[in-house]
Symmetry: C2
Subunit: 496 residues, 2 copies
């Protein structure tokens, strides 16, 4: 860990230096046996995510195996007013997991049981530690699948916590559209279920949606009932080049307006394609490219394909390169799925500041174009790709982690992009969540009164501020703790 602002650093060191109250440690050790640990390597691993922040370890980790165990751990922490941070696989990228106020990390990865699959109802109930790939492997023989795909093999609990989405959202929606009910442990350690399994309900406030995207700050999500979708009869994938990013984006916008049910619609800029070619040994044309997927009956796939080819041609798009058989489709999509790692290798040893702007699609071409120009002016290497059907795109700002001025430049660029997205009636985060990094943009995006409503909810559900404290909304009287990047440069504090 590097230096922090003096007060925050003192507070954090104090908590971490002090460790857990001995009685709490005893209670947790008695409950969890060897599944309670203060081992520094384990703690460090649990204070590490995919963000540009330095790790901040918790004081202890417990490995829970059931909702009841989570409830016991939270109740014990509640009694000692000690922070609780839920942990899935650690793939979040905005600092969500960092134990900036110390406390106990509850690792949910052993809660990996698929509790039921009800094909007739198109639902599955899983423990929070089940990963999306594990669920889909279990479903492979059923003819149904779980649709949300954020790229990483995230835990489904973590995907609920960040309201995740991804390449299939244009067709099947985000986690908000694919969760029917949650089992949640409250700040006091009570177990609640937010809804039953009906496909719709008007029975009171929608707690399911309140906990989705709450990033562990309102409760610990332990079980999730998700919606399943029937495997389409036919699937075809295609890649097509465009003379510029704008024409690629316009093609997708037109398809959306016509109601073409695209299964995926990903745009990759020329630099991303270059990275993919280097990483995956492909020979894709290094131009702005759409990766598309069509699904449905064979006739529907045919029809959608014809429509998209016509739209793309109008926009100056090139020939479609098709992939229909599963292994061909895999060959086409694998490079897209590896885009993140491929881009990191554009600059060996670099770290990435990953942005997550999302705007109304009519503003997307402008937002991407202005961002591309800004990137060029800043002289930072930054491939751009995204889920253009949703208006969502990511820039990977590739920086030397030891170069403070470069990190500052990247943070300034990221800052301007968030403001640009907000100014274009969009959001600073389409799918990655707030964590530590986006907290200071919430007021700009929503207004102070809206954020105050969020604070009221936080205080009402977690009056002692033990649930992932210091994340999402900053409470009065709470120390503002901002860990540093490896360079020591502050990030995410521009607008405060």
């Amino acid at each position: 860990m590097t230096a922090m602002t003096s007060q925050s650093a003192r507070q954090t060191r104090l908590r971490m230096g002090k460790g857990l109250p001995a009685e709490l440690a005893e209670t947790l050790a008695a409950t969890f046996g060897p599944r309670f640990t203060t081992n520094s390597a384990v703690c460090l691993q649990h204070g590490t995510d995919e963000s540009a922040y330095e790790p901040v370890p918790p004081d202890a980790v417990v490995f829970a195996e059931s909702t009841e165990e989570v409830a016991k751990a939270v109740a014990a922490c509640h009694a000692w007013r000690t922070p609780v941070i839920a942990f899935g696989v650690g793939s979040s990228i905005e600092g969500h997991l960092l134990a900036i106020h110390g406390g106990v990390c509850i690792d949910l990865s052993r809660m990996n049981r698929i509790l039921d699959v009800r094909q007739q109802d198109l639902t599955a109930c899983v423990q929070a530690g089940v990963t999306r790939e594990a669920l889909n492997a279990e479903l492979a023989h059923t003819g149904f699948f779980f649709s949300v795909d954020p790229g990483a093999n995230a835990s489904i609990g973590g995907m609920v916590a960040t309201a995740a989405s991804g390449t299939t959202t244009v067709r099947y929606g985000t986690m908000r559209d694919n969760v029917l009910s949650l089992t949640v442990v409250t700040a006091e350690g009570q177990v609640i279920r937010t809804a039953r399994r009906a496909r719709k309900t008007s029975a009171g406030y929608c707690l399911t949606q309140l906990f989705i995207g709450s990033e562990g700050t309102l409760g610990v999500i332990t079980e999730i009932t998700v919606k399943l979708h029937p495997q389409p009869e036919a699937i075809a994938a295609a890649a097509v080049n465009f003379p510029d990013v704008k024409s690629a984006v316009e093609t997708v916008i037109l398809a959306m307006q016509m109601g073409v049910p695209l299964a995926r619609a990903e745009m990759l800029d020329a630099l991303t394609i270059k990275a993919i070619n280097a990483h995956s040994r492909t020979s894709l044309t290094e131009a702005p490219t759409l990766f598309l997927e069509f699904s449905g009956s064979p006739a529907q796939v045919q029809e959608q394909s014809v429509t998209l080819q016509a739209l793309a041609e109008e926009q100056g798009g090139g020939e479609f390169q098709w992939a229909t058989r599963p292994e061909e489709r895999k060959r086409l999509w694998t490079p897209r799925h590896h885009a993140y790692f491929a881009c990191l290798q554009l600059r060996p040893g670099c770290r990435s500041f990953t942005t997550d702007a999302c705007v109304p699609i009519s503003n997307l071409a402008q937002c991407v174009a202005e961002t591309a120009a800004d990137i060029q002016a800043a002289g930072i290497l930054a491939p751009i790709f995204g889920h253009v059907g949703d208006g969502n795109f990511h820039c990977l700002l590739l920086v030397d982690p030891g170069n403070a001025s470069e990190i500052r430049a990247a943070e300034e660029l990221s800052h301007r992009l968030m403001r640009r997205a907000i100014h274009l009636d969009g959001t600073c985060t389409g799918e990655h969540g707030v964590g530590l990094h986006k907290m200071s943009y919430l007021e700009e995006e929503h207004g102070a009164a809206t954020v105050e409503v969020m604070r009221r909810i936080k205080r009402a559900l977690d009056p002692h501020n033990i649930l992932n404290p210091g994340k999402v909304v900053h409470l009065d009287g709470e120390d503002l703790v901002r860990p540093k990047t490896t360079s020591g440069a502050a990030v995410g504090e521009r607008t405060r």
Copy 2:
């Protein structure tokens, strides 16, 4: 008004007898001029909904024309700790609007401006008093439409408040799936916007979804940004008879599991068809019937039609009666849309207790069959129809409003149905909301700890309990007020 339990009646009479504080009345009169009224006929109309309850008028009504006016009215009521009830068109059916603690009704029907339609983004922003038919009339020339159709020509603000849905939900979702952002006046009279216009966001707690279905108890919704959908190229409708309700339901379940994107899938039992024949002078076969709609490209419609015919035939369904041209489809669907009024005429002078059970679709056939048997045993005339693709169905329990024992029997039947739905992992209300009538079932459905979380949210956002008090969740220290039906029989209090 009829007698109430002594304490509740005293409290209500006290409030209503006392009327508004003079200073509050002066403030509202100064702000609203002639659009502030205490006229008893106007107040009575604003305390009347479509439920089986007797009307309970507010002390005054203001007709607001802007968000700013709503904010002023709420701020004034907040200063005087006086209840505020928002009113759209009065089509709610669970007692939502009844001014059981007196106060000021804010009529939003003059907030009927469509603020913008952005075809490129597939969004429209409307004031809360715009009705769904008015919005769709405005959209008619655009090639886009607003999809949610609860039957009544409800205001869009009211539809947000009750998380409404309807015949098209099987394809396009409920209000939860079709609202991007809300402007809301808080209990203190502050104006907030819950989100920007991006199609997805992870930027903090999802206040949009919290206010959807909150029935005016957490804030007053004044503006709504909704999603639009492209008008399908081709639409075909069909009616098909089945030997029994179960086989009709099974046909829809199979279609859902195959991923057939049905545009509508309504089941009507033989009694409903009989009512329709009498009311609409049609000669439909008086048997359980599915009304279906297919939409998409002509080829997709053809493909879906063939699939559904095959599924129906397997289940013993009869010939499909087709309607493809707009006037034919209107002729087919109009009787379905009039089913509610047609059923009321099965028994002239009756009133209806309308139920709203919704269960996982695998439990739907059982739930409907047990309910049909229960209806028969109770000797109550009660047609059944519903949105079977969602697992949601309604019974109209047709009772003589002057016959207390019949009303008690209907209430018992309704009570058993709600318990049956909950027992089958469903909900006591799929789309009508809680209002007064379902409050006592929330704990049974969700558990006491879950309802306590809802109460915490209510207290946090409305600490003085001025927003539609006495609805959705019952707060400690709050008088439990239950108005009566015309017979004087108590309703909705079974499980308390």
